[in-house]
């Protein structure tokens, strides 16, 4: 079975631009969560979606938004990029209280 997939794997953007990251959960998983991992730190929770509804939101500004589609895939959008948004963005799909992480998208903002 395929695991959680994320695209793209790497991305370089300049300050002020907008970015969209994509995630496909494991087949049968209805929940997707997003995390930001800044270099040298643990992942920080951004969003959680279950059955296309937002179930949780971390302490991130409104520049960050997400949505979940009928096929349970998800997109994370970040507007007005700042240098501090440079990080590894991890997506996880959930089943019975276990989260399975994808390989991440490394975003570099210059």
């Amino acid at each position: 079975d395929a695991g959680v997939t994320q695209s793209p794997t790497h991305l370089i953007k300049t300050r002020g631009q907008q970015v969209t990251l994509r995630c496909s959960p494991i087949s049968g998983h209805k929940s997707v969560s997003w995390y930001q991992q800044v270099l040298g730190q643990g992942p920080q929770f951004i969003f959680q979606y279950y059955e296309k509804e937002e179930r949780g939101r971390g302490n991130f500004p409104d520049r960050f938004s997400a949505r979940q589609f009928p096929n349970y895939s998800s997109e994370l959008n970040v507007n007005a990029l700042l240098l501090g948004d440079s990080a590894l963005y991890l997506c996880a799909s959930s089943y019975r209280d276990l989260q399975y992480f994808g390989p991440g998208t490394r975003l570099t903002v210059t």
Binding site: S33, Q41, G42, Q48, S94, L98, G102
Partner: protein, 116 residues
Amino acid sequence: AQSVTQLDSQVPVFEEAPVELRCNYSSSVSVYLFWYVQYPNQGLQLLLKYLSGSTLVKGINGFEAEFNKSQTSFHLRKPSVHISDTAEYFCAVSVTPYSSASKIIFGSGTRLSIRP
């Protein structure tokens, strides 16, 4: 609110020596506990989990952890490490209010470096 403290940011160990990575958590409600491993330039892989039952949990790659409720700890151990264990290790907790999925709160990580 929940929090996780990993007491060591770096742990250098000689190959074939035992290792313990320490983790303490804080929570006013029951939690699920996890250890994840992250190899360079990769995502997170679940090493082991404590959901309920036996407090000694065995995971992949020969790792084990013990849940100690009175000390609010969940230390990770391996009796003999290998070069391939070099990675970043994250302790994490989650609280599930109902149904499926909950956010995970991670510690800041412990970098395990193995010396030959």
